[in-house]
Amino acid sequence: MTMKLTEEQQQILDGGKGEVHAKIMKTLVMYGEAFGAEEMVPVTGKRGHLVTSFGLSVMKPVYELMDQLIEAGALSEQPFSVDPRPLDKHVPANLLQNIFFKVMYSKQTDYEAQLEKLGILGDDAFTCTCYMDEVGNIPQRGEVLSWAESSAVVYANSVCGARCNRNSGILELFGSIVGCVPSFGLLTNEGRKASWVVEVRTTARPEAQVLGSAIGMKVMEDVPYVKGLTPWLGTELTQEAKDYLKDFGAATASNGAVGLYHIADLTPEAAEQGEALIAEGAQTYVVDDAELERVRSNYPVIWKERDAAPKLCFVGCPHLSLAQLQDWTKSLAEALAAQGRSKVAVPTVFTAAPGVLEAFEQTAEATTLKALGVVASYICPLMYMNNPLCGKMPVITNSNKLRTYTTARYYTSAEILQRISGEVH
């Protein structure tokens, strides 16, 4: 192994803290060497974030590995949040589906007990948007993180200005256990330079999740520098801009493999360094109305009956912010009133972090939303959808991530509103 390690790191690698710690360090060193890392750097973020939140019965190898870590005392140095829980009894499901969920996620309780031993922040730390104020796992600019969850990593890098590679599940925990990660890619100044310039030339504010999808599919794992969004997002990271970037980033990361993007005059590094962030020889991708339409028209619709009436709608992948929950409630109430309806035309679930839902409960909109017949849940829609029973259901969503991983059909937010309000059948 050629990476230069500190005395302490070398001692761990040599087995000074036992075999399990040595294997963890060996994994991280091999990982770094695959990317030419010359050294490990300390994890300076105060909290971690794990991607694996689900006790899927078939993921036995993962639970066995977690047991090995716990038995060896290889626990996380930082308390961590974790992706959303896969189950919520309030989300509509029939008897068969409920039985299936119980079998499929039969390891959920055991796995959550493992997470508690490993260092989870608390019982309500299950969300993909741990960076919301109500959750409080907000990385600071320049902090080195050992996180996974593609949508959280791309947000932490791009909007918060933290430094984190697109780590895989398990690897992110390893970095938190030994307190260091190999220095390469998005941890370095060079790796944060943009190799693509994206010129947005649309006639209206592009739908965040379609723009993100188009860019992700084009640049794959590269860093894009996006110009042309200022008329719609402004130059301040307002809550509205952050919410847009949350949804945009999740699409870049799931439809492609983007771990960092820069938005001209808006995201912290772009605001400070401007076009100096663009690498020499960067390629250009022009996104106009026609390109967005081309991308969207290529999304496969894999429902058995293409024109089936939707049986469920998910909004909130990634989880909604408090402001988004309130905005959706207001828009939906108005849309339903315009249709002369008092309740949604399609069973609908809005998802958000437990802390955000708690804050939402204190608002007037919470009562309104309940009256409209919408379920507010902490669930992970992706985990709900990942079984043959739910997979056969005609589910609609405004999430390009959910579309990518499941049979859910994508519609823009405006189109979703039309469908759940009964304006369009």
Partner: protein
């Protein structure tokens, strides 16, 4: 017969039938159904990948540009290996991405099922190799397609 030289990420020698993805390989989307329902052939379930969707991946030489998608990707590859449902090797035209690297390294360090892996084989590699061809990997990263 054509030969390509790449960089060895996980060493090993193997000969297998090629399975080629010209687009990014979404690890979670590809493996999720087979892991969930005990499909030992590891039939690809990525609806967005017309090259692979519905094709068995277990025992194949998976040829791809890079992996994309969820950061569970490495963990999913590790699980596939631990459950003996993995491709026998991974051959990347581009430099390996962080999720795939995590998966093959986790498999190498923590399971008995190593997946020899070679990256940076170049775009010509993906142009030359077709599903069904025989691929041979040597310890030094030379890949023969015939």
């Amino acid at each position: 017969m054509k030969q390509f030289k790449g960089r060895v990420v996980v060493p090993g020698t193997v000969q297998a039938e090629a399975l080629v993805s010209h687009g990014g390989f979404n690890t979670l989307a590809s493996f999720q159904k087979s892991l969930m329902f005990g499909d030992k052939n590891a039939t690809c379930s990525d609806q967005n990948n017309p090259d692979l969707n519905g094709k068995p991946m277990h025992g194949k030489a998976l040829c791809l540009p890079q992996t994309i998608g969820s950061t569970t990707g490495g963990m999913v590859l590790y699980c596939a290996a631990a459950l003996s449902r993995q491709p026998v090797c991974l051959l990347f035209s581009k430099p390996i991405d962080s999720l795939a690297a995590a998966g093959v390294i986790l498999a190498d360090v923590w399971t008995d099922a190593s997946m020899p892996t070679v990256d940076t084989l170049g775009e010509e590699f993906l142009e030359a190799v077709q599903s069904g061809m025989t691929v041979t990997i040597e310890e030094n990263g030379v890949v023969t397609v015939e």
